[in-house]
Symmetry: C2
Subunit: 424 residues, 2 copies
Amino acid sequence: MNGGGLRRKPYESLRPFVGFNQNAMPVISTRATEMPLSPIRKLAPLANAAKARGIKVYHLNIGQPDIPTPEVGLDALRHVDRSVLEYSPSDGFESYRKKLVTYYAKYDIRLDADDIIITAGGSEAVLFAFLACLNPRDEIIVPEPAYANYTSMAVAAGARIRSITTTIQEGFALPKVEKFEELINEKTRGILICNPNNPTGYLYTRREMEWIRDLVKKYDLYLFSDEVYREFIYTGSPYISACHLEGIEDNVVLIDSVSKRYSECGIRIGALITKNRSVHDAVMKLCQARLSPPLLGQIVAEASIDASPAYMREVYDEYVERRKCLIDGLNRIPGVYSPIPMGAFYTVAELPVDDAEQFCAWCLTDFQLDGATVMLAPAAGFYATPGMGRNQVRIAYVLNCADLSRALTILQAALENYPGRKNV
Amino acid sequence: MNGGGLRRKPYESLRPFVGFNQNAMPVISTRATEMPLSPIRKLAPLANAAKARGIKVYHLNIGQPDIPTPEVGLDALRHVDRSVLEYSPSDGFESYRKKLVTYYAKYDIRLDADDIIITAGGSEAVLFAFLACLNPRDEIIVPEPAYANYTSMAVAAGARIRSITTTIQEGFALPKVEKFEELINEKTRGILICNPNNPTGYLYTRREMEWIRDLVKKYDLYLFSDEVYREFIYTGSPYISACHLEGIEDNVVLIDSVSKRYSECGIRIGALITKNRSVHDAVMKLCQARLSPPLLGQIVAEASIDASPAYMREVYDEYVERRKCLIDGLNRIPGVYSPIPMGAFYTVAELPVDDAEQFCAWCLTDFQLDGATVMLAPAAGFYATPGMGRNQVRIAYVLNCADLSRALTILQAALENYPGRKNV
């Protein structure tokens, strides 16, 4: 009954070929062609080649902290008492989601466990938010410079990002509301912000958040708000979450991740949070299609919520020190300028070079100081507007102060020796 | 410099509203609306309600084996010696990919480590394959019944599945080649098979695989081949991988996962394998956008490759026994018919009922035998053709024989008591 092959003709019976694509290889999708290379990772082959030549590379290009993961998270891992590593629920373990409710309450974000969907990192939350909320050719407005992977995820969903330029001269504050309204048309479906901001470290003010709220309300937009850096705010200014804004509760889709909070980038645990049940249910269809978020990561993330206040304070203090060390150091290098980031652990700095991407590549291919060099992320990849950020880099302060100081010395020497140096 | 708010007008300066979407909530995307609910998970709320009433539910609906994960994998977890749970490379650890090369060689699948991209489960591999290879409105041909999540992932990519119906009467063998050719048009971009098959347990014969190869070659199609059940082939028939087919090396995209192989569904480790560099590089853009596959899962999966032959044999023998127990038992129930599955750990069985979905729901809401009931997956959700599979269910033999026997007794009693019983 299951032998196969019965009553079948040999393959010669294929009907005459009528001809398309003949002798051509199948081609990749248009979206794959349009998708940008990551500005954070595109120079990785050059870095690998440098390392193969025995050169030490200080990685300031990627938001991979060297901060230890909380012991309580690692401990949970060592004591996993399961004989079968089973699927977890598609929206994540209820125990973890309930515990997250108490975590968010500390930030005055009031949620039910069912408002929270656990995702494979913040990345999956962004992708699923776009797939669930945006149709092909729909537009979202994103202040630039912006985390480059938003563009990739938007392209994956067929949606378009319209950029509002913020400038280093204004410390990356939002331009006035009219600039947003100039971009709004019948295709506009949402605004996306990252707050505190990657790559600029900017923290949106209450006034800015209220402008955004009013735009969202007036034009009935989604507000996608990536707030994965809320632990890292340095200026005493208040953290205004999209979830704090009244009257747009059903418009907000919060993107979150434990990657940076607990230095657990590898476990791929994020969250998509919304009070909009239609969005929730649509995202759940995607979640069921991918079955479940990572089991082991959830175990670590759930345990990490109990990280001691001492651990969290120590991490915070460490970033405060690094920020000071990096920003002071940068602004002391002739021709270099960095605003003071208010949050996250990045800054966008201006360098006295013709083309920052060429400079970053040159640091890896043609420069070393006592056997070491630096890897930075060219900032142009964080802007959608052509020509913007050409003399800027994003620097992540994810190394300790000794390493940061060393990296700054190397950067200064590199800038002095770079053939494309521009005197400013 | 970073205070924000300078030179900005109060929000009353929002320009007069010109009107679209007014007073409407933002709506979800068309693709989210089109995306089907998982036939495997859609009855979960009814199962939860039954459990809340104190009823034991035998889960035959989902491919979650109760087989223990290999000790060597769990051990690797208990001995993770890392202080920072960092990102892994976007394509996965090289050490793991190299070890996979030796794993595949045992199946005469010849790969380089760079042909392999580690993904968050086979699900992500399917999604990324579709996003990288298919444009909106492109079509792929899929024999039905088929794993329901292919449809969800195709919808996510804007692509369309055209179904070739296979029938329980023919043991789910492929229909003749002409049936495929009737569906091929200028939008056709690929064929997708799952071999051994979920949900039918069918194993494609060499002749069928050669037909597929010739179609792929003639019409320049992608061949997406999901072979996650290759360890579970019971009939002595040869396993013909898509990677064994000569002359279409650049057309093949292999989907894989360790979920079933090592009973590690929760760790979310799969792979997308291709020798086509354009596809590889396109998928890598998506991989970089989501940063990295799960770190901890990779550690477990890499260690699990060293699972002892004794473990693998024991698991295999266990499924052989379960298959016998289930299929014999099913075919002994009056009015029930199941072909003998050749591989995987599912079967599609015909029941003497008016509507299998209603029957499955009724088992959870209205029936119990000594405080227990069964949960099955209605098969209609595995067919794209309306009306197909209405009296069929998918049954996963992921429970031990004692539990399977008990579940069969319950199923028989349920069928005797079901008001919608049809005498056949």
